[in-house]
Symmetry: C2
C-alpha cells in the first residue's frame, strides 16, 4: 500500500473497490429479491456437521504422518502450525486426480481462501512502482481490487476478430514496456471466466504461455470453476501445459466444498521461473508474506477439507456430482427462460451459452450500470451485476452478468421474467424516445 | 509492498522477516528439545471436538438474529458472508464482561487472527512513503514484520530512569517529524508485553494517550494476554481509558480459545479519531481492505468461537480458569528453577518476574544471538529466543526470552537446568578468556 494507491473509478463512476462489498451485502439490502448477482455456490449442498464429523480421519492421517499419538495430533490441529499448511499432500493428490495437475506437496502454500493466494502472489511479484499486472477486461473484481488496494498498475488486453488473445497480450506487454512499465504477471481464469463464462482454447493457452515465457511474465491461473463443466471436452490447465515455469496455479475449496472453510492454495512451479527467480525463491517469499498476513491458514479449516478428501479417496468428483447436476439444470433453465422472455428481441438482446461455471452474460440495447442495477433490485425485485463493474475500460457498458449457481429453476424463470420486464420497458421507452 | 520494502537486518545479522518462520518451525527441527521459544498456548486444554459440538448454539443464535429457519442459518454459516463478521455482538459482550472494554458491535471487524487486524490497520494508516509507526524495542515480531513487508518505517522508543515512556514517545514523534517523517500509529502491548512481559502503569497509559491525542497519532493496543494475569491488580485497558478517539483495540481468541480458529478482531473508536479521520471512515477502509485480503473471516471459525461464548454466558473467564492455573504454576516453576540454577550468579544473570502473560526475559553476562540459540538447541536440547530477534536497535543483545506457557513444571526444571549448563559453561569460558 503506497502513494500509487488510488480508488480506481469504473466507467459508471462507481469505485471498483466498493463492488466486492456491494456483491457481498446487496443480498442483505433486498432480502425478498431474486438474486443473480453473486456467484455463490449452492449452500443447500453444504453438509457442515457431517463434514466436521469426519475430522478424526484427518487427525489419524496427521498423527501417522508425524508419528504422533492421535490425541497429540488432535491438540496440534488447534495450535499454530506450519506456515505453508498441513494438507499439502492431500491437495497435490486431489489436483492430480481431479484437475490433471501434477505437483509435489512442497510446491504448495495453503491460503485463507484463494483471495489471499492472489494477494500474496501479486504483492510479491509487483514490488517496484513500475511493476504492473495484465488481465482481460472485464476482469474478476478480486484481482482489480488487490491491484487498486496496493497501488499496482493493471493493464487490460482483449482479443478481437482480427487479433488472437496471445497477440493482444504481447502487444499490451510491448506497449507497457514502451511506457517504462514492467509487466510482471498476467491473471487469467482460463475455464469459465468470471464474469464472462468464456473458456480459453488449448491453442490460446499454449500461445499465451509462449508469449509469457518470451517476456518473462508470470501467469496466475485461477481455476475455481474447472471442475464445474456441464458440456464439451476438458481443456488441459495452463499449469499442465506449461514447460517453461510460467504458471502459478491458484485453487480454492470454496466452490467444491464451501466458502465458510476459507481454504485455498497456490502451486508454484519447480526450478527456474519466468522473470528469473526460482520456484523455491517465490515459495519462500510467499511463505514469509503469509506469516505476516495471517500467520497460517486455519488448521481446523484444513482439517475439515483434508478429512473430506480422505473420506472421498482423494477426489472431490463424487461429492460434487449432484452439485454439478444442479448447476447444469440451473444454466439450462436460465438459457430457456432467456429464449422465452426475449423471443422477438433476438436482434436487441443476446447472451452466451457457457459450457460450465456459474455465470453467463447478456448484452442489452442500452447501457446497464449501477443505477439500472439498483432500479432492477428496487422496482423489479431482481439482483444483477453490470459488467461495467468488472470493466477496466469503456467495455461492458451494455452487458450484465447473471449468476445461476445459487438459485433454482423456478426462481430463475421468475427472475428472468422480472429482468425481462425491466429490459422491455427500458427498450420500449428508448424506442419511444427515438421515435419522438 | 513497494520499493521502500527492505529485509531489515537484526543486530545479529539475521533478517527480522525470517524470525516468524524460525519461531513456527524450529520446534520441528529439534523435536526432542525442550522449547521455551514460542509463546504458544497450552494445547492440552484445546477441546476441539467438544467445542465443535457446540456449533448448533451459534446456528440458533444466528437464525434468531436474522429471522431464519435453523437449517437456512446452518447452510449460510458455510457460505460467503458479511465482511466485518457475524459474531460482533458476542465479541462486544465478551469484551464488556472480561476486559472492561465497552463498545458497540458496529465498531468491530472480525479478522483472520489478530495478525490480519494488525496488518489491515498498519497498511490503512501508513499509505504515504513518509508514514511511519512507533513501537517499543524490543517489539513483537508480528508488527515489525508487517512494517518490513510493506516497506513502512518503524521507529523505536524506550524509557529510562531519567525519562518516562510517554516523554520518550513524544521525543521520538518530534524527532521523526524533524526528519519529515509522518508518525501515524504507535503499537503497544500494555499488558504482559511480548517479548518482555512488562505492564504499562495506569499513569503511563494516560500519559501516552495524552501524547498521541496531542500529535494525532493512533494507538494500536494489542491485548492477547490481558486475561492471563496471575498476581496483582488489573490495570484498565488503554481503550477504556481513551476519551479522545486515539485507541484501536486489537484482540484474539488464539490464547483464550485456540490459534487453530484464526479468529481475531479490531475495535475502532466511534466519532472523530486522532489523525482527523472518523471511526466510521477507518472501519469502512478496514472492511474494504479485508474484502480483498481474505474476503471474510472463516464463518466456521466464527461459529465455533461464537458457540463457546454462547455456552459460557458470554464470558471466557470460567473456560480459562484451569489454563490460568497451569500458566501460573509454570511461571512459578520457571522462577524457582532460575533461582536454583543461578544461585551464586546473582550479579551475572538476572530476570524479571512477570505478573502474567507467557514470557519472562533473562539477562546474561554475554551476547546471546542466533548462533547461541542454535548451539543451545543442538548441544543442550533447549530452545530459546534471543531478544535481539525482537530488537529494532542494538538493545537486547545480552537477553533471552523464555516462554513458559506451553510447558510443564518438570520440563521447565529440566530445560532451565540445560540452559543453565550452557550459560555457566559460556560464562566460565569467558572468565578464562578474560583471565588469560
Amino acid at each position: 500500500m503506497n502513494t500509487r494507491s488510488v480508488h480506481t473509478r469504473n466507467t459508471d463512476g462507481s469505485s471498483r473497490l466498493d463492488v466486492m462489498n456491494f456483491l457481498n451485502e446487496v443480498a442483505q439490502n433486498y432480502p425478498s429479491a431474486i438474486s443473480f448477482a453473486s456467484g455463490r455456490p449452492a449452500e443447500q449442498f453444504f453438509d457442515i456437521e457431517a463434514w466436521i464429523g469426519r475430522i478424526p480421519l484427518f487427525v489419524e492421517h496427521f498423527a501417522r504422518q508425524h508419528g504422533l499419538p492421535n490425541e497429540t495430533a488432535r491438540n496440534l490441529i488447534g495450535q499454530y502450525g506450519r506456515t505453508n499448511g498441513i494438507m499439502c499432500d492431500l491437495i497435490a493428490r486431489q489436483l492430480a486426480l481431479d484437475e490433471g495437475v501434477s505437483c509435489h506437496p512442497r510446491q504448495i502454500v495453503v491460503t485463507t481462501g484463494c483471495q489471499e493466494a492472489m494477494s500474496l502472489c501479486i504483492t510479491h511479484l509487483c514490488r517496484h512502482p513500475d511493476d504492473i499486472i495484465l488481465t482481460r477486461s472485464p476482469a474478476y473484481i478480486g484481482i482489480t481490487g488487490i491491484a487498486d488496494m496496493n497501488g499496482i498498475g493493471i493493464v487490460p488486453f482483449a482479443s478481437d476478430d482480427s487479433k488472437p488473445l496471445a497477440d493482444a497480450l504481447e502487444e499490451a506487454i510491448r506497449n507497457a514496456r514502451s511506457e517504462n512499465k514492467r509487466p510482471r504477471a498476467v491473471y487469467l481464469v482460463p475455464d469459465f471466466d468470471n464474469p464472462t463464462g468464456s473458456v480459453l482454447s488449448h491453442l490460446e493457452r499454449q500461445q499465451i504461455i509462449e508469449v509469457c515465457a518470451r517476456h518473462g511474465v508470470v501467469i496466475l491461473e485461477d481455476n475455481p470453476y474447472g471442475m464445474f463443466r456441464y458440456d464439451g471436452d476438458v481443456v488441459p490447465t495452463m499449469f499442465a501445459l506449461d514447460t517453461k515455469g510460467c504458471v502459478v496455479y491458484l485453487g480454492t475449496y470454496s466452490k467444491s466444498i464451501c466458502p465458510g472453510l476459507r481454504v485455498g492454495f497456490a502451486v508454484v512451479p519447480e526450478g527456474e521461473m519466468s522473470g528469473g527467480q526460482s520456484g523455491a525463491e517465490m515459495l519462500d517469499a510467499l511463505s514469509q508474506a503469509k506469516s505476516f498476513a495471517t500467520v497460517n491458514t486455519s488448521q481446523i479449516g484444513q482439517a475439515i477439507a483434508g478429512a473430506i478428501l480422505l473420506s472421498e479417496a482423494g477426489s472431490l468428483r463424487k461429492l460434487i456430482t449432484p452439485v454439478i447436476h444442479h448447476y447444469r439444470t440451473n444454466r439450462d433453465a436460465m438459457l430457456h427462460s432467456l429464449e422465452d422472455t426475449f423471443s422477438g428481441y433476438e436482434d436487441d438482446v443476446t447472451w452466451n451459452r457457457p459450457d460450465g461455471g456459474f455465470f453467463l452474460t447478456v448484452r442489452l440495447p442500452f447501457e446497464f450500470g449501477r443505477d439500472e442495477a439498483e432500479f432492477c433490485a428496487n422496482e423489479h425485485g431482481v439482483l444483477t451485476m453490470p459488467l461495467s463493474f468488472f470493466a477496466l475500460g469503456d467495455d461492458g457498458r451494455d452487458r450484465v452478468r447473471l449468476a445461476f449457481s445459487n438459485s433454482d429453476p423456478e426462481r430463475i424463470r421468475e427472475g428472468i421474467a422480472r429482468f425481462g420486464a425491466f429490459v422491455k420497458m427500458r427498450s420500449g421507452r428508448q424506442h419511444q424516445q427515438r421515435s419522438r
